[in-house]
Amino acid sequence: MSTSFELNTPDVMAEDFDADLVLLNLRSGEYFNITGAPRAFLDTVLAGVCPTSLSKALGQTNAEAGAEAALYFENLQKHTLIRPIEGSTAMDATPAHAAAVLAIGATFPFECFDDLSDLLAADPIHDVVPEAGWPVMPDAG
Protein backbone atom coordinates (compact mmCIF):
# COMPACT_ATOMS: atom_id res chain seq x y z
CA MET A 1 0.00 0.00 0.00
CA SER A 2 1.54 3.34 -0.99
CA THR A 3 1.20 6.77 0.49
CA SER A 4 -0.02 9.84 -1.32
CA PHE A 5 2.27 12.80 -1.96
CA GLU A 6 2.23 16.55 -1.46
CA LEU A 7 4.49 19.45 -2.43
CA ASN A 8 7.45 19.82 -0.15
CA THR A 9 6.40 23.20 1.26
CA PRO A 10 7.67 25.60 2.54
CA ASP A 11 11.02 24.74 0.96
CA VAL A 12 9.29 24.37 -2.39
CA MET A 13 7.24 27.29 -3.71
CA ALA A 14 4.68 26.81 -6.46
CA GLU A 15 3.33 29.42 -8.84
CA ASP A 16 0.53 28.40 -11.17
CA PHE A 17 0.23 30.12 -14.56
CA ASP A 18 -2.55 28.03 -16.11
CA ALA A 19 -0.45 25.99 -18.54
CA ASP A 20 2.76 26.27 -16.56
CA LEU A 21 3.41 25.31 -12.98
CA VAL A 22 6.69 26.81 -11.79
CA LEU A 23 8.30 25.25 -8.74
CA LEU A 24 11.20 26.85 -6.88
CA ASN A 25 13.18 24.83 -4.37
CA LEU A 26 14.47 27.52 -2.04
CA ARG A 27 16.79 25.05 -0.35
CA SER A 28 18.66 24.14 -3.53
CA GLY A 29 17.89 27.22 -5.62
CA GLU A 30 16.72 24.99 -8.47
CA TYR A 31 13.54 25.92 -10.29
CA PHE A 32 11.35 23.89 -12.60
CA ASN A 33 8.83 24.52 -15.36
CA ILE A 34 6.18 21.83 -15.26
CA THR A 35 3.87 21.85 -18.23
CA GLY A 36 2.05 19.46 -20.57
CA ALA A 37 1.90 15.78 -19.63
CA PRO A 38 4.25 16.21 -16.63
CA ARG A 39 1.86 18.83 -15.25
CA ALA A 40 -1.10 16.47 -15.68
CA PHE A 41 0.91 13.65 -14.06
CA LEU A 42 1.89 15.80 -11.08
CA ASP A 43 -1.63 17.19 -10.64
CA THR A 44 -3.00 13.63 -10.57
CA VAL A 45 -0.39 12.54 -8.03
CA LEU A 46 -1.07 15.57 -5.83
CA ALA A 47 -4.78 14.71 -6.01
CA GLY A 48 -3.95 11.51 -4.13
CA VAL A 49 -3.31 8.98 -6.89
CA CYS A 50 -0.44 6.54 -6.38
CA PRO A 51 2.40 7.63 -8.72
CA THR A 52 3.66 4.09 -9.23
CA SER A 53 0.26 2.80 -10.22
CA LEU A 54 -0.26 5.84 -12.46
CA SER A 55 3.02 5.09 -14.26
CA LYS A 56 1.94 1.48 -14.67
CA ALA A 57 -1.48 2.53 -15.98
CA LEU A 58 0.22 4.83 -18.48
CA GLY A 59 2.51 1.97 -19.48
CA GLN A 60 -0.42 -0.29 -20.26
CA THR A 61 -1.46 2.13 -23.03
CA ASN A 62 1.97 3.42 -23.98
CA ALA A 63 5.00 1.52 -22.64
CA GLU A 64 7.41 4.37 -23.33
CA ALA A 65 5.19 6.92 -21.62
CA GLY A 66 4.91 4.66 -18.59
CA ALA A 67 8.68 4.33 -18.31
CA GLU A 68 9.19 8.07 -18.76
CA ALA A 69 6.54 8.86 -16.17
CA ALA A 70 8.21 6.53 -13.66
CA LEU A 71 11.53 8.30 -14.26
CA TYR A 72 9.80 11.65 -13.94
CA PHE A 73 8.42 10.65 -10.55
CA GLU A 74 11.93 9.60 -9.46
CA ASN A 75 13.19 13.05 -10.46
CA LEU A 76 10.44 14.78 -8.50
CA GLN A 77 11.61 12.89 -5.42
CA LYS A 78 15.31 13.27 -6.14
CA HIS A 79 14.93 17.05 -6.30
CA THR A 80 12.78 16.96 -3.12
CA LEU A 81 9.86 18.67 -4.83
CA ILE A 82 7.32 16.30 -3.29
CA ARG A 83 7.16 14.29 -0.09
CA PRO A 84 4.98 11.42 1.11
CA ILE A 85 2.10 12.34 3.39
CA GLU A 86 2.63 10.41 6.57
CA GLY A 87 -0.22 8.01 7.38
CA SER A 88 -1.97 8.58 4.07
CA THR A 89 -3.10 5.97 1.58
CA ALA A 90 -2.95 6.74 -2.11
CA MET A 91 -5.67 5.76 -4.57
CA ASP A 92 -4.79 3.30 -7.28
CA ALA A 93 -4.72 4.85 -10.72
CA THR A 94 -7.57 3.97 -13.05
CA PRO A 95 -7.48 3.78 -16.85
CA ALA A 96 -9.36 7.09 -16.81
CA HIS A 97 -6.51 8.73 -14.88
CA ALA A 98 -4.01 7.47 -17.44
CA ALA A 99 -6.19 8.52 -20.35
CA ALA A 100 -6.52 12.04 -18.93
CA VAL A 101 -2.72 12.37 -18.73
CA LEU A 102 -2.15 10.90 -22.19
CA ALA A 103 -4.74 13.27 -23.63
CA ILE A 104 -2.28 16.05 -22.76
CA GLY A 105 0.86 14.28 -23.95
CA ALA A 106 3.00 11.18 -23.79
CA THR A 107 6.44 12.62 -23.05
CA PHE A 108 7.74 13.60 -19.63
CA PRO A 109 10.76 15.88 -19.95
CA PHE A 110 12.12 17.06 -16.62
CA GLU A 111 13.19 20.71 -16.91
CA CYS A 112 15.48 21.83 -14.09
CA PHE A 113 17.14 25.26 -14.07
CA ASP A 114 20.03 25.65 -11.68
CA ASP A 115 21.48 29.08 -12.50
CA LEU A 116 20.01 30.39 -9.27
CA SER A 117 21.26 27.51 -7.18
CA ASP A 118 24.90 28.38 -7.80
CA LEU A 119 24.18 31.91 -6.70
CA LEU A 120 22.23 31.08 -3.58
CA ALA A 121 25.00 28.79 -2.49
CA ALA A 122 27.69 31.33 -3.32
CA ASP A 123 30.58 31.74 -0.99
CA PRO A 124 30.25 35.47 -0.34
CA ILE A 125 34.00 36.04 -0.22
CA HIS A 126 35.50 33.86 -2.87
CA ASP A 127 32.79 33.56 -5.50
CA VAL A 128 31.48 37.09 -5.68
CA VAL A 129 32.91 39.70 -8.01
CA PRO A 130 33.64 42.75 -5.88
CA GLU A 131 32.53 45.29 -8.45
CA ALA A 132 29.08 43.75 -8.72
CA GLY A 133 28.08 43.94 -5.10
CA TRP A 134 27.21 41.30 -2.64
CA PRO A 135 26.01 38.61 -3.08
CA VAL A 136 25.82 38.95 -6.84
CA MET A 137 27.74 36.44 -8.89
CA PRO A 138 29.48 37.09 -12.20
CA ASP A 139 27.05 37.52 -15.13
CA ALA A 140 24.07 37.79 -12.83
CA GLY A 141 22.90 40.89 -14.64
Partner: protein
Protein backbone atom coordinates in the same frame (compact mmCIF):
# COMPACT_ATOMS: atom_id res chain seq x y z
CA UNK B 1 37.67 19.05 14.20
CA UNK B 2 36.24 20.20 10.91
CA UNK B 3 32.93 18.52 11.72
CA UNK B 4 32.82 20.17 15.13
CA UNK B 5 33.46 23.52 13.52
CA UNK B 6 30.75 22.94 10.96
CA UNK B 7 28.29 21.73 13.58
CA UNK B 8 28.98 24.85 15.62
CA UNK B 9 28.48 27.01 12.55
CA UNK B 10 25.12 25.43 11.82
CA UNK B 11 23.78 25.24 15.36
CA UNK B 12 25.03 28.39 17.07
CA UNK B 13 25.42 30.95 14.36
CA UNK B 14 21.76 31.65 13.45
CA UNK B 15 20.84 32.62 17.03
CA UNK B 16 23.92 34.74 17.52
CA UNK B 17 23.48 36.47 14.17
CA UNK B 18 19.86 37.36 14.87
CA UNK B 19 20.80 38.54 18.37
CA UNK B 20 23.52 40.77 16.90
CA UNK B 21 21.05 42.11 14.31
CA UNK B 22 18.44 42.94 16.96
CA UNK B 23 21.05 44.73 19.08
CA UNK B 24 22.27 46.73 16.09
CA UNK B 25 18.71 47.72 15.18
CA UNK B 26 17.95 48.68 18.80
CA UNK B 27 20.98 50.96 18.80
CA UNK B 28 19.93 52.45 15.46
CA UNK B 29 16.41 53.11 16.76
CA UNK B 30 17.84 54.92 19.76
CA UNK B 31 20.22 56.99 17.62
CA UNK B 32 17.45 57.92 15.19
CA UNK B 33 15.41 59.48 18.00
CA UNK B 34 17.85 62.36 18.31
CA UNK B 35 19.52 62.39 14.88
CA UNK B 36 18.90 65.01 12.20
CA UNK B 37 17.08 63.19 9.42
CA UNK B 38 17.47 63.80 5.71
CA UNK B 39 14.13 63.01 4.08
CA UNK B 40 13.72 61.46 0.69
CA UNK B 41 10.59 60.23 -1.05
CA UNK B 42 10.93 56.94 -2.88
CA UNK B 43 7.85 55.78 -4.81
CA UNK B 44 5.66 57.82 -2.50
CA UNK B 45 7.25 56.50 0.70
CA UNK B 46 9.04 59.05 2.85
CA UNK B 47 12.29 57.70 4.26
CA UNK B 48 14.37 59.46 6.90
CA UNK B 49 18.12 58.88 6.81
CA UNK B 50 20.78 59.74 9.37
CA UNK B 51 24.50 59.09 9.06
CA UNK B 52 27.51 59.35 11.31
CA UNK B 53 29.22 61.11 8.37
CA UNK B 54 27.53 62.54 5.27
CA UNK B 55 27.91 60.05 2.47
CA UNK B 56 24.78 58.40 1.18
CA UNK B 57 22.52 61.44 1.59
CA UNK B 58 24.70 63.28 -0.91
CA UNK B 59 24.09 60.57 -3.52
CA UNK B 60 20.40 60.21 -2.74
CA UNK B 61 19.18 63.73 -2.13
CA UNK B 62 20.06 64.83 -5.66
CA UNK B 63 17.80 62.14 -7.06
CA UNK B 64 14.72 62.82 -4.97
CA UNK B 65 12.76 65.94 -4.12
CA UNK B 66 12.69 66.54 -0.36
CA UNK B 67 9.25 65.53 0.90
CA UNK B 68 7.23 67.29 3.57
CA UNK B 69 5.71 64.12 4.98
CA UNK B 70 6.87 62.54 8.20
CA UNK B 71 9.11 59.53 7.47
CA UNK B 72 7.34 56.20 7.67
CA UNK B 73 10.68 54.36 7.58
CA UNK B 74 14.10 55.31 8.87
CA UNK B 75 17.67 54.25 8.19
CA UNK B 76 20.70 54.85 10.36
CA UNK B 77 24.11 54.56 8.68
CA UNK B 78 26.83 53.92 11.23
CA UNK B 79 30.40 54.24 9.99
CA UNK B 80 31.99 54.28 13.43
CA UNK B 81 33.05 50.65 13.38
CA UNK B 82 31.77 50.29 16.93
CA UNK B 83 30.05 47.05 15.99
CA UNK B 84 33.22 45.32 14.82
CA UNK B 85 34.09 43.55 18.09
CA UNK B 86 30.56 42.09 18.18
CA UNK B 87 30.79 40.72 14.65
CA UNK B 88 34.21 39.24 15.37
CA UNK B 89 32.59 37.38 18.25
CA UNK B 90 30.21 35.79 15.75
CA UNK B 91 33.13 33.82 14.40
CA UNK B 92 34.05 33.13 10.82
CA UNK B 93 31.03 33.92 8.64
CA UNK B 94 32.90 33.53 5.39
CA UNK B 95 31.48 30.07 4.70
CA UNK B 96 27.90 31.10 5.31
CA UNK B 97 25.73 31.17 2.19
CA UNK B 98 23.33 34.09 1.59
CA UNK B 99 20.42 31.67 1.97
CA UNK B 100 21.62 30.49 5.38
CA UNK B 101 22.11 34.11 6.40
CA UNK B 102 18.56 34.96 5.29
CA UNK B 103 17.23 32.06 7.34
CA UNK B 104 19.18 33.12 10.41
CA UNK B 105 17.61 36.58 10.29
CA UNK B 106 14.18 35.28 9.39
CA UNK B 107 13.97 33.62 12.81
CA UNK B 108 13.76 37.17 14.20
CA UNK B 109 11.54 38.50 11.39
CA UNK B 110 14.41 40.55 9.94
CA UNK B 111 15.96 41.05 6.51
CA UNK B 112 19.64 41.51 5.95
CA UNK B 113 22.67 41.29 3.77
CA UNK B 114 26.31 41.13 4.71
CA UNK B 115 29.73 41.18 3.13
CA UNK B 116 31.99 39.06 5.29
CA UNK B 117 35.13 40.24 3.55
CA UNK B 118 34.58 43.93 4.26
CA UNK B 119 32.41 43.44 7.37
CA UNK B 120 29.59 45.49 5.85
CA UNK B 121 26.05 44.89 7.06
CA UNK B 122 22.57 46.01 6.02
CA UNK B 123 19.78 45.05 8.42
CA UNK B 124 16.09 45.88 8.39
CA UNK B 125 13.23 45.28 10.79
CA UNK B 126 9.90 45.47 8.91
CA UNK B 127 7.95 45.55 12.19
CA UNK B 128 9.67 48.76 13.27
CA UNK B 129 10.37 50.08 9.75
CA UNK B 130 13.93 50.74 10.84
CA UNK B 131 17.08 49.85 8.98
CA UNK B 132 20.74 50.08 9.81
CA UNK B 133 23.82 50.10 7.64
CA UNK B 134 27.07 49.22 9.35
CA UNK B 135 30.39 49.99 7.73
CA UNK B 136 33.79 49.83 9.40
CA UNK B 137 34.59 53.39 8.27
CA UNK B 138 33.04 56.04 5.96
CA UNK B 139 35.36 55.07 3.12
CA UNK B 140 34.18 51.48 3.10
CA UNK B 141 31.38 52.11 0.64
CA UNK B 142 31.60 49.90 -2.41
CA UNK B 143 32.33 51.73 -5.63
CA UNK B 144 28.89 51.02 -7.10
CA UNK B 145 27.10 52.65 -4.19
CA UNK B 146 26.85 56.21 -5.64
CA UNK B 147 24.84 54.84 -8.57
CA UNK B 148 22.42 52.77 -6.48
CA UNK B 149 22.57 54.02 -2.89
CA UNK B 150 21.04 51.90 -0.12
CA UNK B 151 19.56 49.50 -2.68
CA UNK B 152 18.95 46.63 -0.25
CA UNK B 153 17.51 48.80 2.48
CA UNK B 154 15.23 50.73 0.13
CA UNK B 155 14.12 47.42 -1.33
CA UNK B 156 13.14 46.08 2.08
CA UNK B 157 11.39 49.33 2.98
CA UNK B 158 9.36 49.10 -0.22
CA UNK B 159 8.52 45.48 0.55
CA UNK B 160 7.24 46.46 3.98
CA UNK B 161 4.92 48.90 2.20
CA UNK B 162 3.57 46.26 -0.17
CA UNK B 163 5.78 47.29 -3.07
CA UNK B 164 8.63 45.45 -4.67
CA UNK B 165 11.91 46.65 -6.10
CA UNK B 166 12.41 44.72 -9.30
CA UNK B 167 15.49 44.36 -11.45
CA UNK B 168 13.84 45.69 -14.58
CA UNK B 169 13.87 48.74 -16.81
CA UNK B 170 10.81 50.53 -18.12
CA UNK B 171 9.52 52.50 -21.06
CA UNK B 172 6.20 54.23 -21.46
CA UNK B 173 4.04 56.84 -23.08
CA UNK B 174 1.72 59.00 -21.03
CA UNK B 175 1.96 56.89 -17.89
CA UNK B 176 1.27 53.59 -19.66
CA UNK B 177 4.22 51.37 -20.24
CA UNK B 178 6.14 48.14 -20.23
CA UNK B 179 8.83 46.51 -18.09
CA UNK B 180 12.03 45.31 -19.72
CA UNK B 181 13.45 42.24 -17.97
CA UNK B 182 16.41 40.01 -18.65
CA UNK B 183 19.93 39.18 -17.64
CA UNK B 184 22.87 41.54 -18.04
CA UNK B 185 23.78 41.98 -21.69
CA UNK B 186 20.27 41.25 -22.96
CA UNK B 187 19.77 44.87 -23.99
CA UNK B 188 17.67 46.36 -21.18
CA UNK B 189 19.66 49.55 -20.70
CA UNK B 190 20.35 50.00 -24.41
CA UNK B 191 16.66 49.61 -25.20
CA UNK B 192 15.71 52.08 -22.48
CA UNK B 193 18.21 54.58 -23.82
CA UNK B 194 16.97 54.04 -27.38
CA UNK B 195 13.46 54.74 -26.11
CA UNK B 196 14.10 57.89 -24.08
CA UNK B 197 16.33 59.30 -26.84
CA UNK B 198 13.45 58.88 -29.28
CA UNK B 199 10.47 60.27 -27.45
CA UNK B 200 9.48 57.54 -24.99
CA UNK B 201 9.44 57.94 -21.22
CA UNK B 202 10.83 55.87 -18.36
CA UNK B 203 10.68 55.36 -14.62
CA UNK B 204 14.09 53.67 -14.52
CA UNK B 205 16.69 51.81 -16.56
CA UNK B 206 17.84 49.26 -14.00
CA UNK B 207 15.43 49.05 -11.08
CA UNK B 208 11.76 49.92 -10.68
CA UNK B 209 9.49 49.92 -7.66
CA UNK B 210 6.45 47.90 -8.66
CA UNK B 211 3.12 47.75 -6.86
CA UNK B 212 1.87 44.36 -8.00
CA UNK B 213 -1.83 44.59 -7.08
CA UNK B 214 -4.47 45.16 -8.29
CA UNK B 215 -2.61 45.85 -11.54
CA UNK B 216 1.10 46.56 -11.73
CA UNK B 217 2.29 50.14 -11.48
CA UNK B 218 6.00 51.00 -11.75
CA UNK B 219 7.63 53.95 -10.03
CA UNK B 220 11.25 55.14 -9.95
CA UNK B 221 13.73 53.85 -7.42
CA UNK B 222 16.58 55.93 -8.83
CA UNK B 223 16.74 58.59 -11.51
CA UNK B 224 20.24 57.77 -12.69
CA UNK B 225 20.99 56.01 -15.97
CA UNK B 226 24.19 54.21 -16.94
CA UNK B 227 25.60 53.78 -20.40
CA UNK B 228 29.01 53.45 -22.00
CA UNK B 229 30.27 55.88 -24.64
CA UNK B 230 29.49 53.48 -27.49
CA UNK B 231 25.91 53.06 -26.29
CA UNK B 232 25.46 56.81 -26.05
CA UNK B 233 26.96 57.27 -29.52
CA UNK B 234 24.41 54.78 -30.92
CA UNK B 235 21.61 57.18 -29.98
CA UNK B 236 23.51 60.21 -31.24
CA UNK B 237 24.89 61.49 -27.95
CA UNK B 238 28.57 62.22 -28.16
CA UNK B 239 29.62 63.01 -24.67
CA UNK B 240 27.75 63.46 -21.42
CA UNK B 241 29.24 65.71 -18.79
CA UNK B 242 29.54 63.03 -16.17
CA UNK B 243 32.42 61.06 -14.71
CA UNK B 244 32.83 57.41 -15.64
CA UNK B 245 31.78 54.94 -12.98
CA UNK B 246 33.58 51.76 -11.91
CA UNK B 247 32.24 49.98 -15.00
CA UNK B 248 33.59 52.66 -17.33
CA UNK B 249 30.05 53.88 -17.95
CA UNK B 250 28.68 57.39 -17.89
CA UNK B 251 26.22 57.93 -15.06
CA UNK B 252 23.72 60.70 -15.64
CA UNK B 253 20.41 61.93 -14.34
CA UNK B 254 17.62 61.04 -16.74
CA UNK B 255 15.94 64.39 -16.02
CA UNK B 256 19.02 66.35 -17.06
CA UNK B 257 19.70 64.65 -20.38
CA UNK B 258 16.12 63.80 -21.37
CA UNK B 259 13.92 66.18 -19.34
CA UNK B 260 10.68 65.08 -21.00
CA UNK B 261 11.39 61.40 -20.46
CA UNK B 262 11.27 61.15 -16.67
CA UNK B 263 7.87 60.10 -15.38
CA UNK B 264 6.81 59.28 -11.85
CA UNK B 265 4.50 56.41 -12.61
CA UNK B 266 3.63 53.96 -15.39
CA UNK B 267 0.81 51.45 -15.47
CA UNK B 268 2.50 48.30 -16.66
CA UNK B 269 0.70 46.55 -19.49
CA UNK B 270 3.31 44.01 -20.59
CA UNK B 271 6.75 42.59 -19.85
CA UNK B 272 9.19 42.65 -22.75
CA UNK B 273 12.23 40.38 -22.75
CA UNK B 274 14.84 42.09 -24.94
CA UNK B 275 17.43 40.10 -26.81
CA UNK B 276 20.27 41.53 -28.92
CA UNK B 277 19.39 39.87 -32.23
CA UNK B 278 20.83 42.14 -34.98
CA UNK B 279 17.62 41.75 -37.00
CA UNK B 280 16.77 44.17 -39.81
CA UNK B 281 13.52 44.99 -37.98
CA UNK B 282 12.68 44.61 -34.30
CA UNK B 283 10.23 41.78 -33.72
CA UNK B 284 7.85 40.94 -30.88
CA UNK B 285 6.97 37.32 -30.17
CA UNK B 286 4.77 36.05 -27.39
CA UNK B 287 6.69 34.64 -24.42
CA UNK B 288 5.43 32.17 -21.85
CA UNK B 289 4.78 33.10 -18.26
CA UNK B 290 7.69 30.89 -17.28
CA UNK B 291 10.05 32.76 -19.61
CA UNK B 292 8.92 36.08 -18.15
CA UNK B 293 9.35 34.82 -14.60
CA UNK B 294 12.77 33.44 -15.49
CA UNK B 295 13.80 36.86 -16.83
CA UNK B 296 12.47 38.78 -13.85
CA UNK B 297 12.72 36.67 -10.71
CA UNK B 298 16.24 35.20 -10.40
CA UNK B 299 18.14 38.45 -10.86
CA UNK B 300 15.69 40.32 -8.62
CA UNK B 301 16.01 37.63 -5.94
CA UNK B 302 19.77 37.79 -6.11
CA UNK B 303 20.07 41.55 -6.07
CA UNK B 304 17.55 42.03 -3.29
CA UNK B 305 18.57 39.83 -0.39
CA UNK B 306 16.29 38.73 2.39
CA UNK B 307 13.06 36.71 2.10
CA UNK B 308 13.62 35.53 -1.44
CA UNK B 309 10.36 33.61 -1.36
CA UNK B 310 8.43 36.91 -1.05
CA UNK B 311 10.40 38.30 -3.99
CA UNK B 312 9.62 35.24 -6.09
CA UNK B 313 5.94 35.50 -5.22
CA UNK B 314 5.77 39.21 -6.08
CA UNK B 315 7.50 38.64 -9.43
CA UNK B 316 5.02 35.84 -10.16
CA UNK B 317 2.16 38.18 -9.34
CA UNK B 318 3.36 40.72 -11.89
CA UNK B 319 3.93 38.02 -14.51
CA UNK B 320 0.43 36.68 -13.92
CA UNK B 321 -1.10 40.13 -14.34
CA UNK B 322 0.31 41.08 -17.76
CA UNK B 323 1.36 39.35 -20.98
CA UNK B 324 5.02 38.86 -21.89
CA UNK B 325 6.78 39.13 -25.23
CA UNK B 326 10.27 38.50 -26.53
CA UNK B 327 11.68 41.71 -28.01
CA UNK B 328 14.13 40.67 -30.72
CA UNK B 329 16.18 43.79 -31.29
CA UNK B 330 17.41 45.40 -34.48
CA UNK B 331 20.50 47.59 -34.40
CA UNK B 332 18.59 50.83 -35.05
CA UNK B 333 17.63 52.71 -31.87
CA UNK B 334 14.98 54.77 -33.69
CA UNK B 335 13.38 51.69 -35.14
CA UNK B 336 13.47 49.94 -31.73
CA UNK B 337 11.79 52.92 -30.09
CA UNK B 338 9.19 53.16 -32.89
CA UNK B 339 8.35 49.46 -32.51
CA UNK B 340 7.84 49.81 -28.76
CA UNK B 341 5.84 53.01 -29.25
CA UNK B 342 3.57 51.24 -31.73
CA UNK B 343 3.23 48.26 -29.41
CA UNK B 344 2.10 50.47 -26.55
CA UNK B 345 -0.16 52.75 -28.62
CA UNK B 346 -1.81 49.97 -30.58
CA UNK B 347 -2.81 48.21 -27.40
CA UNK B 348 -0.30 45.39 -27.71
CA UNK B 349 0.71 46.46 -24.27
Amino acid sequence: MWCLKLAGLLCLMPDSISAFAITALDRAEKALKTAALTRISVAGVTVGIAETAPKVVNWLSGQFDPPAATPSAQVFCDYSGGYLPETRALGDLSEMSPLAFDEALATAGLFGSFDANQNRWDLFDPARNIGVRLLPHPGAYPEWEPTAPLANLLGWIMRAKGRMVMHAASLGIGNVGILLAGPGGSGKSGTTLAGVANGLQSVGDDYCVVSPAPSPVARPLYRMMKQDSAGLARVGINGVASPLNWQGKHVFDLREVFPEAAIDEAKIKAILLPRVSHLPHTKLERASAFEALQALAPSTMLQLGGDRSATFKACAEVVRAVPAFHLLLSEDPREIAATIRGFILEGGA
